[in-house]
Amino acid sequence: MQDYDIVIGLEVHSELKTNSKVFCSCKNQFGQEPNTNCCPVCVGLPGALPVLNKKAVELVIKAGLTMDCEINDIAVFERKNYFYPDLAKAYQISQLVKPICVGGHIDLENKTVRLNRIHLEEDAGKLVHSTAAIGTLIDYNRGGVPLMELVTEPDISSADEAVEFLTKLRQRLIYAGVAECKMEQGGMRCDVNISVKKRGSLELGERTEMKNLNSFKSVYRAINYEANRQIEVLKNGGKIVQETRKWDDNHNRSISMRKKETSSDYRYFPDPDMLAVEIPREDVEALRKTLPLMPEELKARYISEYGLSEYESEILTRENHLSDYFNKTISFYNNPKEVYNWILTEILSRIESSENISISPENLAKLLKLVENKEVTRTNAKEMLSRIMENGEEIEALIKEYGGGVDETALKALVENIVTSNPKAVEDYKTSDTPEKVFRWFTGQVMKETKGKANASKAEEFIRELLNK
């Protein structure tokens, strides 16, 4: 493998987060009964016409802005003509000559991957292979779901880089609110173009394409398999044929599907049913202003402004829901380090996804303030948190139960009682070289008696008062 360079380009399809489909008003929703979320437009009935969902264009522009793309002033939709049963109109409305975004890049740890373009198109329906008696069925629910297709330049040189690129891309799309990238629902799919060449050679090798890989793991394994296969072919004096190969995840191999000679001529031409989309500069700038900070930017801010470590910032910015949660919490309680510690040790261990954290940022902030003011002990606060997150209990009730449960007069009486009934300890306090140790013993006694409910700082105040008499 060391004698060869691997050259990889990716085409990534992501379903956009719009309310409705891209050319009709059907809902953009996953998981409905087959063929219940369709209309004349998305099943391509005769006479139906597409009407562009402007929101989808905005999302592609936003995506482009997070990757430094150039946004075209005019974007044009074209028809990509081919026959396949899941493609209701026998053409897909896509973009060829004038996509919404051109150029741009995503920076990886050790290199920059240049983008060729990002364009908007419609998804196709889905074939459902049923029993032999029934045959193949078609579900058109997915037909017309807005897809953005991002095409990279062939700048990626390994499976690791490909996965790093996809991770960063996915983060950006999620952060920008462009797509949810739910891989398991086909919300993000990747075509891999791959070729190999003698190390250092300027001449590119013949490439193969693997379509519709729907997990990072598949991408990783498919690249490694296919690079090795190609290298083996070359080493044995063979030739690589330009072709589309199918990745078989179950058997961890790729299979030849279609040679170039038999591939389709898509006969693209501008869709006469659609107007060219004008994209004024002002609109682009207005959209730019709505973009949140991207993960790298947030990370930098956590490090420089909040004094968090690289590692801590990395954890918080991996998922937008988590960094949102963190940002909100510190807006109520400005102690980033403390908030981070609680998130890491108490919250992340209790959740499956950062999308649904069952204690609100406000309530977490409230709890941490109680700890800081010593109105509840750290131990009790942890117990409270656990009861909120796991039993769904109300924070107000828990505060009554754990904190401020002992009123001042009663607390004072209790302190007096403990001090007077422990003369030996009082003596120790006055003579000891380490009086604070004895002092802490007294506070411990108070907390024990009150089951931790006493306001610790009040208790300390009373104890000190009596001991110093």
């Binding site: 005769p46 006479g47 009407v51 006969r267």
Partner: protein, 480 residues
């Protein structure tokens, strides 16, 4: 008073005033259609039409007002009316039932129309004689040995034979105007985008329009006002407000600048239409119009331009008829490739197949720039030339066809000669401008000829004024 002697406007008024019922009018026309079924203008008279007419009578009694309240209308077979068949005169869609209403049908229903029949046409609107219908040839309303023209031959014949007060056609390269000319009636192709194409089975999306075919110009203006207007389902439909077209009809053309094209002077030499065309110009001049000689230098390229753009779009538009979903599937198909191949081989007629192949050819990689792109560039050039021409005049007049309707079968096996039928009409589609055909003059066999009046975008009102003037005052010349 005979019902079929009333104009559309008179009929609408009498039904509204309850001097006539929709039921008796509709029944009259249905009976007449049945009487003249040998013309084969219509593919189907809708069974529930008389029920709809009765229902409209009830509504009118209860105070319903609408421009077409109770008025019977015929639609071309490529216009969708929910629950009714729409076959595009193709075997492929023989039993296809529309799942929703086209915008034009909805607009007519909202105005109270009784849409009672669908008219024969050339399959998928491809043709100029209605001989390409999979279900039979429509006859000319005035001479049953001759063609009615096409592709809206059924619609124009129905109006010409008095089988309906009004019919809708579609016009991609002359498909309303040429048959209107052959049947002695009035038909307009509106400005591109003036009428929504939503729910009209597409042939060449970038140039086609729906338009009314009527007995006279005022009826036509009245009808277009119903059909025109923006649709939220159609990006290419225009947002401009629809004017009251009748208000443009002033009975005066004294300040009008009428353009005549140099290129037409050449083209009409020796044609049947030459005399009536010259007479039209003479008539306009005598009535105070200023005749301006102008030019669209690339006029002769409109035909080749059209026969690249239209098939290219058609090949893509017709892809959805694949035997997989609603169109007829071949019984012999054993796998998905065979479903496509056999269904399409069996389902489409010869002319449709010819154009699909043409379209695929001009869009193929390697030929795209030489054909499709070049044609689109040429279209841009023609549009510029049109703008220049219309800067010098208010309307341009030209013939609709070279001569009177030809004999059925006369152009069999000669597609190019058939394509040339659209020589004078294609220009308006390529430019996207409105054009009307009105009867003017007679051919050697005494059959009607047509005169086209073309204006710049959205100037249908001007067209109607000139057309009405010629129709009402040009009697002497128009009979020649």
């Amino acid at each position: 008073m005979k019902i079929d002697e009333l104009s559309l406007i008179e009929l609408a008024e009498k039904i509204s005033k309850q001097e006539l019922t929709s039921f008796e009018v509709t029944k009259f026309y249905i009976d007449k259609c049945n009487e003249h079924s040998d013309l084969f203008a219509l593919l189907e008279i809708f069974e529930d039409s008389l029920d709809r007419a009765k229902e409209m009578d009830e509504k009118i009694k209860a105070g319903f007002k609408g421009k077409l309240a109770g008025v019977p209308v015929v639609i071309k077979d490529n216009i969708l009316y929910k629950g009714k068949k729409a076959s595009c005169s193709s075997k492929f869609l023989e039993n296809y039932v529309a799942q929703y209403n086209s915008t034009v049908v909805q607009k007519m229903l909202d105005e109270g129309a009784v849409i009672f029949a669908r008219a024969n046409m050339d399959e998928f609107a491809m043709g100029s004689s209605t001989e390409n219908s999979a279900f039979g040839v429509t006859k000319n309303a005035l001479d049953p040995t001759r063609v009615p023209g096409g592709s809206s031959g059924g619609s124009a014949c129905a109006v010409g034979a008095g089988l309906t007060p009004v019919a809708l056609g579609t016009d991609t390269g002359g498909s309303i105007r040429q048959p209107s000319s052959y049947n002695g009636v009035v038909g307009i192709k509106p400005t591109y985008g003036r009428v929504s194409r939503y729910g009209v089975v597409a042939f060449a999306s970038s140039i086609e329009q729906v338009g009314p075919i009527t007995k006279n110009v005022k009826d036509n203006a009245y009808m277009l006002e119903v059909l025109a207007g923006n649709s939220i389902h159609d990006e290419t439909s225009l947002k401009e407000e629809v004017p009251n077209y009748l208000s443009y009809i002033k009975g005066d053309i004294s300040k009008l600048r009428v353009g005549v094209l140099k290129e037409i002077d050449e083209a009409v030499k020796g044609l049947e239409v030459e005399k009536s065309y010259k007479n039209a110009i003479k008539f306009l001049k005598e009535n105070g119009a200023e005749i301006v000689v102008t030019s669209i230098p690339s006029f002769n390229l409109t035909l080749p331009c059209y026969y690249i753009i239209a098939p290219a779009e058609a090949t893509s538009n017709l892809g959805r008829f694949d035997g997989v979903k609603y169109s007829r599937r071949s019984k012999d198909a054993k796998d998905v490739d065979e479903i496509y191949f056999k269904s399409r081989s069996e389902g489409f007629g010869k002319e449709v197949k010819r154009r699909i192949m043409l379209g695929n050819f001009v869009l193929s990689s390697g030929y795209f720039d030489a054909y499709y792109n070049k044609a689109k560039k040429l279209q841009q050039k023609l549009i510029e030339e049109g703008k220049k021409a219309f800067a010098t005049c208010d309307v341009i007049v030209l013939p609709t066809t070279a001569g009177e309707a030809f004999k059925i079968g006369a152009k069999d096996g000669d597609p190019v000669s058939m394509y040339k039928e659209d020589l004078f009409t294609i220009m308006a589609n390529i430019l996207g401008v409105p054009a009307i055909s009105i009867p003017f003059g007679k051919g050697p066999n005494g059959l009607p000829l047509g005169l086209q009046i073309v204006a710049d975008r959205l100037n249908e009102g001007t067209i109607y004024n000139v057309a009405d003037f010629i129709e009402s005052k040009g009697g002497e010349y128009a009979r020649l």
